[in-house]
């Protein structure tokens, strides 16, 4: 017994000494993670030139990039983080316009079927390998493997080939003028480094051409980049950037308040007022690209056949098929009040799916006035009077509204408010709120449980800058049984059907002139709005906070890049 106690005591003492020892050597080196990065790092000298000043910045993100392989994820945080190291053929400027990246120039043939990319010469990967057409072909091939999330980039691509070391040609199966905007997040990997290696290798090792090199990645703790001094283009000011994933909203706020990070993303709406009282902090806001909207199965006689809680209407009809009903729904909902009261002003009411900055945005479309009386009138006219008896007593008809409760800002509250507005005009709403990992399976057309949703609230965004991309996902005709045209209407969850819209979208995809395309897509939004194909609620707001050490100019797509951060002297 005594022996054991003695051993324990010694252990404690040793531990105490270890702690004491490290006190004496504060200059202890931050530990290397040798297993993280065998390909790089070891042979790299830290890029330090005494003549130049070091600008270091720490940013708190809402999540981590899970793998360093750019193809296994396609979402905002991973894309933005990995694009520090990897570059695409096409890059974007601050307004999401296409600018030359690894492709110096490109051209589209007159029949709109062939893209030719002229690659930049003299570009080196981080390990010194030369960049050329083989890397592009390899990357395109790899982006179509089953694990890749980028297969839809190649939806309209028939084939591609290398003409010479610095020319790549892509042949389309149908005209696709917005192919460029799909390409610009598809980064290029080094063939020599990655060919023949498994996903587990690519998930840990990097070798790109980007403005930054990876210094360290500790999962869920930090990812550190240092400036690539051999970069082919203009070098950014920030020499070292550390991204910290801090998933808990309040903890992120605390970190900017204590100065442990210089900038945070996704500031929770409730914390903005507190942060504003701190003079050292700046709040930056912009409307996000994400539209929150309502979809209803209004273009089918048999909505949600497999649902446990189907639509109940007095005569068994599908009320969403009536345009008066759809108009009534829109008039019943007070979009402005949702923005003011639920979102605390941190949202921008939307008139269509399209953000203002996108090609094809139609500024003539207005949000219908909130008018419950008119809504009731329209519902009466549509043949859905308030029932005097039966299971619908006091109501016109009953629907089930599916919505997530942990995916979008205040999503459950917004859904509850909408249900409330609809109840007020006599529509009985079963609110079916669920977690995001259930929700997106639930509302998918290919749900193994069958077709179980007829009315839902969800969100959608893409960062293409092109309204036609939005329209081809959200509005292109899609049958209840499957797509009308492969790869189109993938999230047209109300089975909206309009041949005019389809042909306008097809035409826009084959129109290379931006102004002409703009006109065509404006027409799409106009038709959809006249038919009330969906009810847009609002765009969420992106909220950032920075301290006075830096200034930051956000991008519309919320991609955080170190080269958009300026360290103030």
């Amino acid at each position: 017994m005594k022996k054991i106690l003695a051993i324990l005591l010694i252990l404690v003492l040793v531990l105490g000494m270890m702690v004491g020892c490290s006190t004496d050597q504060p200059a202890e080196e931050p530990a290397e993670e040798p297993s993280e990065e065998p390909a790089e790092g070891s042979d790299e000298e830290p890029a330090e030139e005494p003549a130049e000043k070091n600008y270091e910045v720490t940013v708190g993100l809402a999540g981590d990039t899970l793998a360093l392989d750019p193809y296994v994820y396609n979402e905002t945080i991973s894309n933005a983080v990995l694009q520090h190291m990897y570059e695409a053929l096409i890059l974007t400027d601050n307004e999401l316009n296409n600018v030359p990246g690894l492709a110096e120039d490109w051209e589209l043939s007159d029949d709109l079927m062939t893209w030719t990319f002229y690659l930049r010469e003299g570009v080196e990967f981080h390990n010194g390998n030369e960049f050329n057409a083989d890397d592009v072909i390899y990357s395109f091939d790899r982006a179509q493997e089953p694990f890749s999330k980028w297969t839809n980039v190649f939806g309209t691509v028939e084939s591609y080939e290398k003409l010479d070391d610095y020319t790549v040609v892509v042949h389309s199966s149908s005209p696709d003028v917005i192919f460029l905007s799909k390409l610009r997040d598809l980064v290029i990997l080094d063939k020599e480094t990655f060919e023949g290696k498994g996903e587990d290798f690519v998930a840990l090792n990097t070798n790109g051409t980007g403005k930054y090199r990876l210094e360290e990645h500790v999962k869920e703790d930090r990812i550190v980049f240092v400036r690539n001094e051999e970069y082919w283009g203009e070098k950014p000011q920030v020499t070292k950037v550390t991204y910290k994933p801090i998933t808990n909203d309040a903890t992120r706020t605390a970190n900017i308040m204590t100065g442990d990070v210089d900038m945070v993303v996704d500031v929770p709406v409730r914390d903005v007022e507190i942060l504003k009282t701190n003079e050292d902090l700046n709040i930056i806001q912009q409307p996000s690209l994400r539209n929150i909207y309502l979809n209803y199965a209004g273009w089918t006689d048999n909505p949600s056949p497999d649902a446990e809680e189907p639509i109940i209407s007095p005569d068994g009809s599908n009320p969403f098929q009536s345009i008066e009903v759809r108009q009534a729904l829109y008039h019943a909902i007070n979009v402005q009040e949702i923005s003011d009261k639920i979102m605390n002003g941190f949202s921008t009411p939307a008139s269509s799916y399209s953000p203002e900055t996108y090609v094809g945005f139609n500024s003539d479309i207005e949000i219908p006035e909130h008018d419950p009386e008119l809504a009731k009138q329209l519902l009466d006219d549509a043949g859905y009077p308030v029932q005097e008896s039966g299971e619908l007593e006091g109501y016109r008809f009953q629907v089930t509204m599916d919505a997530p409760n942990d995916r979008y800002v205040n999503d459950a509250d917004v859904a509850q408010a909408i249900a409330g507005y609809l109840e007020r005009v006599g529509i009985k709403v079963n609110l079916n709120l669920m977690s995001r990992n259930v929700f997106f399976t639930y509302i998918r057309g290919t749900n193994p449980m069958g077709d179980i949703t007829h009315f839902l609230m969800t969100g959608w965004s893409d960062s293409s800058g092109e309204g036609v991309t939005l329209a081809s996902d959200l509005l292109y005709s899609h049958d209840q049984t499957g797509p009308v045209k492969e790869g189109f209407g993938g999230v047209n969850r109300g089975y909206y059907k309009n041949e005019k819209v389809d042909s306008l979208i097809d035409e826009a995809l084959a129109t290379s002139d931006v102004d002409d395309r703009d006109e065509l897509v404006q027409e799409v939004w106009k038709i959809a709005s006249e038919e009330v194909a969906y009810i847009p609620i609002h765009f969420e707001q992106d909220v950032f906070a920075t301290n006075s050490k830096i200034s930051y100019d956000p991008r519309p797509n919320k991609y955080i890049y170190a080269w958009d951060i300026e360290v103030l002297e």
């Binding site: 931050p30 999330k149 587990d200 998930a203 808990n248 442990d260 997106f440 749900n447 993938g490």
Partner: protein
């Protein structure tokens, strides 16, 4: 002793098999990883390709068979989220969690025994009453609230400690840990204290109850009348007899701490195992969930084994057989 170890080992294998079957079947039911992995506008073809890639197109029992093969290979299958062997993903996270658990266990062990013995020996003193109030508070306060308050007070208002994250790592005896640097310890204090609070309160109450019962026993009076000092009586005689239930509970608590530090780790953005588990559940990352729970089961079996051995040390009358 040897026989005892072998028996425990066989028990462990059986427990693991049962756990893996149960978890495998249930995690097949909780959500469809494929629909979380493919884009929302994916075509049926893309969905099918992803399903085949993950091997989810096969019946569950064949998937389980493949999993068992991966277990024997030692990598426990490829994580759907990290594209790394599941076991590697888990083991990478172990040191971070062990750090806060070790510190938390030291805080709990030292303070709860001292405070528990004191308040048990002198229940009428004011200090004892304060300790009891504190322990009730410790049991009732939820850790997410406590964690946030810690950050607010010590991180923001006083500015003494960093609000979150793991600090610099130091190397000692080849072990890479944030326990060995000042910066690392600073980052450790808040999560470790938050994690200790509930256990601290429980053990104080347990020790106190045991002490109160023991000091009324005759052998204490004998010891005192024999001339043993008050302190020796308390800490050597009474405490020893109090410790058996305390050690049992303490062992279980440590296991619980290692396995399920989820909330504390999420609040303090601590890159440990608890956070890994909750993230994996959210994204239906079956290989990680199953491997994780198997690791946890192994750990509980081992901890219980160690507790059994400590029993023998504390009370030689107990026989392992």
């Amino acid at each position: 002793m040897f026989k005892f170890v072998v028996r425990r080992f066989i028990q462990m294998v059986i427990v693991l098999l049962i756990v893996s079957v149960i978890v495998f079947i249930f995690s097949s039911l909780i959500g469809d990883p494929v629909s979380l992995m493919v884009p929302e506008n994916a075509t049926q073809e893309e969905i099918d390709a992803a399903r085949e890639y993950l091997g989810l197109d096969k019946p569950v029992f064949i998937q389980y068979g493949i999993f068992l093969k991966d277990v024997i290979k030692g990598d426990f299958g490829l994580s759907y989220r990290y594209y790394q062997p599941a076991m590697k993903v888990i083991l990478e996270r172990v040191p971070a969690t062990l750090e806060i658990v070790i510190l938390s266990a030291i805080i709990t062990g030292v303070f709860s025994i001292i405070l528990g013995v004191y308040s048990g020996a002198y229940p009428k003193r004011k200090t004892s009453k304060v300790i009891m109030v504190f322990s009730i508070a410790g049991i009732s306060l939820p850790s997410f609230w406590l964690g946030m308050m810690m950050i607010f007070v010590f991180g923001i208002k006083l500015g003494w400690l960093p609000p979150s994250g793991r600090g610099d790592l130091g190397i000692f005896l080849g072990i890479n840990s944030s326990l060995f640097t000042i910066d690392g310890l600073k980052h450790l204090i808040l999560p470790a204290v938050t994690l200790s609070m509930v256990n601290l309160a429980t053990i104080i109450r347990l020790t106190r109850a045991g002490m109160q019962e023991n000091i009324r026993q005759d052998y204490i009076k004998y010891a005192r009348s024999k001339g043993v000092s008050r302190r020796d009586v308390l800490y050597r005689h009474a405490l020893k007899n109090t410790l058996i239930p305390v050690v049992t509970i303490f062992g279980l608590q440590i296991g619980g701490l290692i396995a399920f530090t989820t909330i504390t780790e999420t609040i303090f953005a601590w890159p440990g195992m608890g956070k890994l588990l909750i993230d994996s559940i959210y994204s239906a990352d079956k290989p990680v969930i199953v491997s994780y729970l198997m690791v946890v089961s192994i750990m509980f079996v081992v901890i219980n084994f160690l507790v059994d051995i400590i029993y023998v040390i504390i009370d030689p009358r107990i026989d392992l057989k």
